[in-house]
Subunit: 150 residues, 8 copies
């Protein structure tokens, strides 16, 4: 396979994506990464900014969430592997939603989280082919899976 | 359609399911409800209790989550409508996972939550055909959808 | 097949559905009919009436259209045959949407309309297995298809 | 994703497609656009012109509509995003048919129309991830969805 | 499985269907049989008879073939097993079309024909799970497959 | 769900199926069990016995394996849960084939085997939602999954 | 779309494929053609020649038909458009099988045959988006569908 | 088709893959081969090595088998043809699992094994489009299927 497509879903407040991307590039792996919009403000405001504002918070959010879905669902559907990271802040229901969505599509799912989250994430982890704790482990999995060597 | 199959996913600490089921029955609607195992302890322990215990918490949880998945995935796949309720406690990532899973399968999705959760649930709500605040609204939707009258 | 499921989509201002249903029953055909909500007011107001009103017309309509979609998509997906009737009033884009939706799902599509509408309906008719002009022809098709005799 | 495939369905009497295409190219976005045959006469006559004329208008139209379907269905199935524009003239049932067809295939659907059409398009809009009023908004959505910035 | 659905496609000029049906009933097997319209005249004329005649033979045939397709495709899609019989007369392209259609849908395909037709049917036979020469063998297969004994 | 369909694949030389079926019936669980033909001789000879013998062992086996596939594939496709048991004798490649087949169809897979087979079955177990060692555990899983209590 | 994939199935005794390919190339259309093995002898003998001969004609043919299926099914599944030509000789059941197979996969189907074959091909024609009589018409359809002009 | 994707599953203790790959390259065939990780130790240890070791052999194996599944399932799903070789050692249930998995996905399946294994592999062979005995026969099939000549 000339290129593996990996979607990086979930937590957007630390640099885990950058760590994975730079280490993967350094290793010369043929991976094409994609991700949701990780600029929190843009992600919240995109619907209202482009299509017109809303007085009600529900519709303000709704318009934005749907515009973001154009990006996220398209990229998840194109992906071979979907990595979902859960952090220690916020409710992150969109991350769990993405994991369920990817699972039903039959994508290879990898979950990345601190061991302290094992219990509340047990149903999500149960759908995954790997549960990692560090970005470095994700890179090692990609290297192994693509290069066929440890 | 002789019977509508409705799966009630999510929060297990209040009696919202009972409210919906009893009002639906009182209204004589032809609905067959299903749900995950709502006994919290049984749900946590089922894997170890049936298949043997585990020293590591991860595998203890893992075995249970997978046994539960036999029930939840089968019932979600059979459902016509999937209702997912989010409460104000716990992380509830399994509920969001179910919503994503049901959405990718093309199920009619209804989300039930307090307006205070609108922002963190915006991506989940965006995938739904209805966002309700009370069990009574769910019953009214079922009545309308099935009986074709308000 | 013990029962054929036929969904009757489209125009809601004449009694074409009643004609088809009563003639089919009179003929003793094993058909289970379904249809969208044909009460125009209820169909327009259901979202706001159940889930709360909206100041903006767009969202008022949007909520209602989605609640109706719970019914229409479920029933179309269950149907063996989808009949879509176009009348001489209103824009009827929902009828054409249903025809496209049913076509992509591989349903047997029958279109019912006056010959005067042949040109603007040519793309819709092109996806159909039969194009009829009268409810009586629909009944004759059902009789032939089920009883295997003219 | 190296290239996003966007199908532009619907109204063929104004230059909305050209506006979107030229602004997208000016912005350097990696989008590959496709569309139905927008030459009204060619679109009407193609079946008879290539495969032989017909005395009956129905079959004349039918042959043409099917030849056009070879193009439209193939391109819609290849598309990541389907934009459907409704104008103020003609019945445009083919546009609504395309929207239903794309929706059932799970495509990201964007509807483009004047606010005056909100009510008759409510079922179509309900299936969309964005409802826009101007071609410029479509370009902004594409830019945001692809470049991940407002 | 409480009932096996078996579709009997192909040749309509001998009593092979009756032989299979009566022997299956005599054996008390829980099989629900279906078939295309086997009245040759009705099958040829149904389109014109119900929807109006046509001057051109092509459209006369076309209307009928599509009305028949409402029956045949629905029943093939519902079937667990599709039996296709080829006789020694006529071109029988519809039988081979049904075999290809059923094969692509993943149905269990059984072909029934005289050994003299082995060479021209080799591609069709290659897609089958059994190639039989007599109706009696079909009954024996159904008995074995359902009752699990020779 | 009024009835759960469980397919019992694999080893045919011990009474594990009978143990599961009788204990499930004793517990009053609404389960409909199915299985391959478990009469070893009939399973080997069915093709030749019904469709005519073959000199070459390869075709003798081939005809039988395909007739058996009519039963096994139909029943696996209808099943909600597929249990596959591996014993300590024979190569049992058909059991592993069934597991792979069921897995790709998204069935809930349960593998039943002695711990001594853990290593060679690791890829098969990795696709399962439960790995059991005794028929009694299978019954307990069915009871838990259906009755929602331990 | 940078390239349209067109599979040319059916009759192998005249030069209709060459006519279509050379005219398409002369017109500079971005079409990638594929076809079954058109060398009649190779097609008949491939199974026995590669995998070992067979005494029985049935298995000789069977092995060859299956090896050919590796090519034909792969290429049909990759195709956007499937053209099937019927000539005036031989039974050509493999051509009709291909048409049914392509139809069930949702491919755009074009049938090419002399008007004298209209009646026996009516069910096959009914599944097509165009019925042509000459290779030149196929080229014109491809030109129109790809270049969007007559 | 510019490139055929062939996955080589199964036995990893002889050089059959190298024989096929080198002969295919020598013949200049446009084939892109892929395979599981064929380093037995790496394949056994990958889960523990990357994600942390396990005391229990079951989980040690389980983690590894799932990491390997990221590679194998992705590559099988991308493949046009899946070749599965069975050798004379080990249980090779993963090979049979891959065959079942590929079969349910509709891949063209080729099985490669010594005639001595015909009986235990009969169900696997029954799902294949070719059963070969030597790597050279695989190369000849690829050559024939791609170049359309013996």
């Amino acid at each position: 396979m000339s290129e593996w497509r990996v979607y990086l879903s979930g937590e957007i407040h630390t640099d885990w994506r950058e760590q994975i991307v730079s280490a993967t590039e350094a290793a010369g792996l043929p991976v094409s990464f994609s991700a949701p919009v990780t600029n929190h403000e843009a992600s919240d405001d995109c619907g209202a900014a482009i299509l017109g504002s809303e007085d009600k918070k529900f519709w303000y959010d709704h318009k934005g969430a749907k515009v973001n879905a154009i990006r996220t669902r398209t990229l998840i559907e194109k992906a071979d592997i979907v990595v979902v990271r859960f952090g220690d802040k916020y409710k992150q229901w969109n991350a769990a939603f993405d994991a369920g969505y990817a699972s039903a599509l039959g994508k290879s799912l990898i979950i990345l989280h601190d061991p302290s989250l094992t219990h509340p994430l047990k149903e999500v982890d149960a759908a995954a082919l790997a549960v990692a704790e560090t970005p470095d482990q994700i890179v090692k999995i990609l290297n192994y899976v693509i290069n066929a060597e440890l």
